[in-house]
């Protein structure tokens, strides 16, 4: 599955993982995994719950270091978690700037908030935000770091259906504008096909299946090719879609 095989001698990669193993109490959750992501590529990572996809994301984020193998990631990376994880004691704009080196101006935060459509709420306390707003702040906090790699851990999982559609669209737009590599961990096949250049299916600790999505953007869920890709992936995940594809 190595994507850099087709590349020149000095492969352009945003993520390179080789022989990665991560065990919990002697049980390998990730077992000799290989993964490559090109700069600017949008990769979605699917898998049943407990397959190790979130663990992989945490490893790439540098939050889990009890690992064996080679993991190369860009210095500038950012994470958005399933829960927004905003510091409740900091106002929105301070949350956005948290952890940035030096003393960044408030305008920097405001610009990032503007990008996610929240320019009117820099002075709000996190507790006053709706779920979708908080998630957008979390996204702004990731983007303000100008990452070369954006790691998204089921960022839409806790949102209601309507808010999720808007948030997905926003992520798609931001990715196209920023041009950073994105690794999206999700269990929503439709979301993966809608957003990603390439969908990976993780199973038994390795990337078990890989699917390029070469549909034109913006993508249409009603497109028969979309449905076909979705059905194929669902089948890979062990969901019988015979009735749905009919």
């Amino acid at each position: 599955m190595a994507t850099d095989v087709h590349r020149p001698v000095t492969p352009q990669t945003a993520v390179r993982v080789e022989g990665l193993t991560r065990s919990f109490d002697g049980r390998a959750v990730i077992d000799d995994l290989r993964l490559g992501v090109r700069p600017g590529e949008f990769v979605a990572l699917l898998g049943r719950s407990g397959c190790g996809k979130s663990t992989l994301l945490r490893i790439l984020a540098g939050l889990d270091r009890d690992i064996q193998g080679t993991v190369l990631v860009p210095r500038r990376k950012a994470v958005a978690f399933q829960a927004p994880r905003l510091m409740p004691w900091k106002k929105v704009w301070r949350n956005v700037l948290l952890g940035l080196p030096g003393k960044p101006a408030r305008a920097v935060a405001e610009q990032a908030l503007d990008e996610v459509g929240l320019s009117h709420r820099p002075d709000a306390w996190p507790k006053t935000l709706s779920g979708g707003e908080a998630q957008r702040v979390s996204l702004a906090r990731a983007l303000v770091r100008e990452p070369d790699l954006l790691l998204l851990d089921e960022p839409f999982g806790a949102l209601d259906a309507l808010t999720r559609i808007k948030a997905q669209r926003l992520v798609g737009e931001l990715w196209q504008r920023r041009g950073c590599a994105v690794l999206l961990v999700t269990h929503d096949v439709e979301e993966a096909v809608l957003l990603a250049d390439r969908v990976l299916v993780m199973d038994e600790g390795v990337i078990a299946y890989e699917q390029e999505i070469d549909l034109d953007r913006p993508r249409d869920i009603a497109d028969p090719r979309f449905a076909q890709l979705r059905a194929g992936l669902l089948e890979r995940l062990g969901v019988d879609t015979a009735a749905e594809t009919a």
Binding site: A83, M87, W125, P126, R145
Partner: protein, 300 residues
């Protein structure tokens, strides 16, 4: 807020328009005998007496009863002075300045003890909360010491520090240290691990994590500790001032005891209560100011 009315401009048929429809085809007796009872809005059933008046009525009645028992002689003045007498004595004590100077002395003792105890308690909690080695070294001795009733140490403190201000401040310090230690320590260890991880992923340094994530997260616990500490500080003050004091509210009380002046004793008790309330008010204000970000905070 009435159910039988639809919002203005609504095109949806509301409930009231359904019922005549049902009546129209009501051949069955079960439907025809539907007996409607109005749901009365809660507000119109309330009595007219305001809440605060009802809440103050109880204490006032008690006070009136007390005064009645005193004037009829059922309650002798050397058992408990009458409220009127107590008010008069309080006026006298305020007038000649002895209450103010006693309060000043006592407040100073509490302030010193509280300050020292806060520094020691918070300091120890930071050491054992932030560093694992600190926890190993500090936590066990502190947990052992805290089970010793601090009031029991008064004789030892008098031997060590004499009978001046030092043993009094020391006893307050000791009383204040432990609740602060326990709450700050628990606050630090109770900080949401997900937020710490988020801070880490944002590139915060160790000190940055402490400053922006751990300490603000421990603040609610610290303020709870401060509240406990204040309560204990007054308690410790009462104990400390009953022993070998030559000034302060406790000294006033000891003096009054020797002359069977129950009126002065009650005045001193009221002063203690008042100071306690004041301290509580200060901490509440601090909480309102510092914890306004808290989703659970409803003190507004």
């Amino acid at each position: 807020m009435s159910i039988s009315r639809a919002p203005p401009g609504s095109s949806e048929p509301d409930i009231s328009s359904i019922s005549p429809l049902k009546k129209a085809k009501a051949g069955t007796p079960a439907l025809a005998s539907l007996d409607l009872t109005p749901i009365v809005p809660a507000s119109s059933r309330r009595t007219r007496v305001p809440r605060w008046l009802r809440r103050t009525a109880g204490p006032l009645l008690l006070l009136a009863l007390w005064q009645l028992l005193s004037t009829t002689g059922v309650l002798a003045s050397d058992v408990l002075a009458s409220p009127g007498r107590i008010a008069q004595v309080a006026g006298d004590l305020i007038g000649d300045g002895s209450l103010a100077s006693a309060m000043g002395t006592s407040l100073q003792r509490v302030a010193f003890g509280l300050l020292l105890g806060t520094v020691v308690g918070t300091g120890l909690a930071l050491v054992s909360g932030l560093f694992r080695i600190g926890e190993d070294l500090v936590d066990a001795p502190v947990q052992m010491l805290r089970t010793v009733p601090f009031v029991g140490l008064i004789p030892l403190f008098i031997i060590w520090f004499g009978i001046g201000e030092a043993p009094k401040v020391a006893i307050i310090t000791l009383g204040v240290t432990f609740p602060l230690y326990l709450n700050v320590y628990a606050g630090i260890r109770g900080v949401d691990a997900q937020l710490v991880e988020a801070g880490e992923s944002l590139g915060l340094s160790r000190w940055g994590l402490v400053r922006h994530v751990v300490l603000p997260g421990a603040l609610p616990g610290a303020l709870t500790g401060l509240r406990y500490s204040l309560g204990i500080a007054w308690l410790a003050l009462v104990f400390a001032e009953q022993v070998n004091a030559d000034s302060g509210i406790g000294f006033l009380m000891v003096q009054a005891r020797d002359f069977l002046r129950t009126d002065v004793i009650v005045v001193c008790l009221i002063v203690y209560a008042f100071l306690g309330l004041l301290a509580d008010f200060i901490v509440r204000s601090l909480e309102r100011l510092l914890l306004q970000w808290r989703p659970t905070f409803t003190g507004r």
